[in-house]
Each structure stands twice: as C-alpha cells, then as structure tokens.
Symmetry: C2
Subunit: 306 residues, 2 copies
C-alpha cells in the first residue's frame, strides 16, 4: 500500500563536532521518504527550486521514491537550512533559514497521491497540513509531526489538524507544551482525547515511547559510539515507523506498532551515523534486519540463549 | 547472602507540586535498605542523632533490616535535608542541608558487616567509601553511587574508589562528567577501564541503562500518571538492583543483571508514588511481582498473547 508524505525538501548546511557539509540534500519529506522506502511505495509532495537537480532526484529514485508530485518552481530556489550542533547533539542551533519556494508552498496533490492509502504530514504549517488532509478522503491512516513554533503561534490550528489524524509523532517536550501537562502519560491521553489513536513521544538519545489506549511501550535509542549528524533522525524514525505500518494489514494492533517503533529506531540510528542522507541512501534491508535483531536482544528482559 | 549498605540516614523536609512533608525518614542508606530488603538480608551502616527514635527504627525493622551498625551519637542530631521540586520533577532544589552527626562520620563496621558477602557504598565522600571498601575483604561484589559534587571536588579519590568496586551506578550526566566524554557508551567504557564490570546509567524519567563488556540493555521508567515525590528514587533503584543480585548465585550474568535492572525500576516506581518511604514501607512482594510482569509486557518487542 502506498504512503504519501508532504513536507520540506531542502538543502542543508550542517556543522557538528565531527565534521561539516556545506550543501547536502535534506528536509523532512526527504528523510522520511528514504526511510519509508524500505517497507512500502512512497510518494513525496513538496516544492523545490531550479537549483534542485538530477543528482538530488537520483537519491530519491535510487530508493524507488515517486517524485511526480515534487513541484519545481520556475525561477525559485530550494528551501535552505543552515545549523550546527555542539557536543550536546540533542540541540540543533539554527544559523540561517531561507524559506525560498517553501514560503509560497500551496500543496497540490495529484489524483494518485490523493488516493494513497496512507498519509504523513511532516512538520509544516498546520493549516497547510489540514488542507492536504482534507484532499485525501480515502486514507486508511494519517499521521503528523509538528514543532514548538506551531504550538506557540498556531496552537488552535494545530489542534484542529490533530483532530483529523490517527497518529501524532512529537518530541516529548512538545507533547507537554501542547497540552500544558507535565506528566507525559497524562499529556498523551489528552492528545488522544483530541482524536488520534496513537501518540509517539520522540525522546532524542533516550529513544521513543508509544502510548495508545492499550498501554505504553518504550524503546531506548540504539547505543552508538559515534553520532555524526543528528539532522533528520526524527523524520527517519517517522519514515521507518509509518513505512512499516503502511505495509501491515492491521496497522494499529499492538504487535505491529511495537515492530514499527523498532524499525523507526533502526533507521534513525543509521541516519545519524553519517551526514544527511549519506548512510540511509546506501542502507540495505539486510542491515536493517540485523540491527532489528540487535534491538530485540538488547531490550529483551530475558536474554536470548547465546 | 547478606548485603551491607553504608550511607546517609536522614530526616527530609520535601515540598513538591503535589504536597509536602516537614520531617520524614529519608537518606540514601534508608531508601536503599528498604528496597533491598525484599530480596536479601540487609545491614545498614550510618550515623544518627538522639532525635532518631523508635518510630524510625520501626520502619527499618518492619522490613527486617538489621540496624545494629547504626551508630547513635550522644548529643548529636540526625542529618537533615530540605528541598523542593517544581513541575520538572527531575531536578531537586536544595533549600537547606544540616550535616549534623554526618559531618563527623567515621564508618565503623562490626565483624558481621565486614564479613557480609555484598556491599553498597551509597553516595558519601569517596575517601570514606574507600575506607569502608578496604574493611570488607571478603566481598563477592561491591557497588557504589556518587554525585556531581564529588566528581567536582574529589575526582581523583572517587576514581580510586571506583577502581576498587565491581558496579558503578551514576546518573548519565555524572558518567559523562566523570569521564569528560559526551558519548554515553564510550563514557561507560572508560569507567569499566577503571575496574568495574558493570556500569548503570540512571536516567530519571527515562529509566536506566546497563553497560557491560557483553553489551547494552536499557529499560524505560514505569509510566506513572502521578509522581508525588522523586526523593530516593535512585537509591530505591540501587536497592532493588543490588538486593536482587545479592540473592543470585551468578550475580553478573546477563540475565541476572537484566532482571535486577527491572526489580530496581519496579521499586523506584513505587517509591515515587508517595512521599519518602511511605509507599515502599507497606509494599508487598506480590505487588512487586505484578509490576515486574507489567514491565515485561511493556518492553516486549513481541507483545505477549492477550
């Protein structure tokens, strides 16, 4: 079953204590769709400028991502983000943001995208998310991500959009901020009361927690000795998570959701081991399954026999 | 097998957003020994003043804790800590500390304590920890806790003490601070290079991680809707962890350590549900096993059949 993602397509300039890149492919929709492509058919929707070329398309096409709904704006330039991380890799410091073609983005979905079974609204302005959501009338499930900026300046709109989706993926601090509830379990309950059945709290280096009406599941992040660039970790997690769910018949049973959490964590862990899309674009399904098994052993209360 | 703990015995005054207590039994050795008492014989070593009365001994005796090595100082007053927590329950704000008899504490262990199989050095000055460590020549294993203060002002002494123990339990920020290594996995490796075989990184509301030469295991904290008072959570975790290990023939095999992590998390989760020792002092083994099972279901990658 196919999965459509609407979000940013970007060039990123990133500096971390371990190196830097002046201009590399990035953006939430890119990280998401590469991650999801290991599990399902993915269509990506978003604007690019004339500076977005064959090399960038090739990264997406190599993973089989459908780019027909990427809108190339004549005379425009692609969204650009510049940032850096210090030794606390949990915190991104933004040095420059140039919205460019993203500033005027009005999502136009093709008939194929509108009829996709599954939808992910990456972190864009919540009114735009809702416009997309309302164009997709036959979805089996829709998920969304957002950020502190929209909670701050567009809270009511974001809450309306949340009421129209099935899964919400946010940082745990954002879930608390949105609900003004310091206890995560209660905060997630309040989000579910708005409509969604599934809440995922992303916790950076501590992993992620899943909260549903049935209960609570949490996974640590994969313990890496080298984290090169955390940019896109959350979107890679979301891509692995929703990509895996898109391929399941019963997407919201507990076992599917737990495996999806693990696949999300697996892809995010590969993503941060190199800059930008470098690692995920040459990742294999075998490597994914190997690390999935590693997660299983790592989190099993009863250690598997050697 | 018996377990000796050396640490503080205190009166605490605590205020949280959910209530306050003006004077209640506390201290690292108290929280530790109550938690450990569910699994093994516990002896507690530490000083108290004349204000420490029958009521306080009764809490320890009700759980079978041996108090013969509690040193009652004539004319002295018991260590007193006053603090509060705001809505971020991860951070304790200290309002008053009166060392009292604890300021002159020179640990004197009875013959029975010196010959105990297992030892825990709760968070006290690292020179004192080492004096105790050296009195106990027959221990099967010794563990320690410490804090940022000692890393700051007595780092070399702390490192020497660490070189003489088998298990180190610290907050993850303290492990990074001690080793000046931002990556937790590498930081834990550096601690192991000092001597210990087992490093536990306590992560507050995110649970705890176990690092050994064999690998990595992490557990989320139990998802509670109400956390009343986090004081003593770390010591309760340590008590459940080392108490369980004390009762195991092979204390450092992977399965024992993983179960010990879970028992530690279980007791810590009960501890924070009420003030001070209130909840743990009326806890039952049945409640512990029930929550242990809850942890198993909560963390299982393949959900158990309903």
């Amino acid at each position: 079953m196919s999965l459509v993602v609407v979000g940013s397509i970007a060039f990123d300039a990133v500096r971390t204590p371990f190196g830097e890149r002046e201009r590399m492919l990035g953006g939430s929709a890119v990280h998401f769709s590469l991650a999801a492509s290991f599990f399902t058919d993915v269509r990506v929707v978003g604007p690019v400028g004339e500076d977005f070329g064959e090399e960038e398309y090739a990264v997406l096409h190599a993973r089989g991502v459908n780019t027909e709904d990427i809108e190339r704006v004549e005379g425009g330039r692609t969204f650009f983000w510049k940032g850096h991380y210090d030794y606390d890799l949990n915190t991104a410091h933004t040095d420059d943001t140039q919205l460019n073609v993203f500033g005027e983005f009005q999502p136009k979905l093709s008939e194929q995208s509108r009829s996709a079974e599954n939808l992910f609204l990456a972190n864009i302005q919540p009114d735009l998310q809702r416009e997309v959501r309302e164009q997709c009338t036959d979805t089996r499930f829709a998920g969304l991500d957002s950020m502190n900026l929209w909670i701050d300046i567009a809270r009511d709109s974001l809450k309306r959009t949340i009421s129209q989706v099935d899964l919400v993926l946010l940082n745990d601090a954002e879930i608390r901020m949105l609900t003004e509830q310091p206890n995560l379990v209660r905060a997630a309950r309040e989000v579910m009361a708005m409509g969604p059945r599934v809440v995922v709290a992303k916790r950076g280096e501590y992993g992620a927690a899943l909260i549903t009406a049935d209960g609570f599941f949490a996974l640590p992040a994969f313990p890496l000795e080298t984290v090169m660039d955390p940019t896109g970790a959350g979107d890679s997690f979301a891509g692995g998570f929703l990509g895996y769910l898109s391929a399941q018949e019963d997407w919201c049973d507990d076992a599917s959701l737990r495996r999806a959490m693990t696949y999300g964590s697996v892809i995010a862990s590969f993503n941060v081991q190199e800059f930008g899309t470098e690692r995920v674009s040459r990742l294999t399904r075998e490597e994914i399954e190997e690390r999935f098994e590693h997660f299983r052993r790592m989190t099993a209360l009863e250690a598997a026999p050697a």
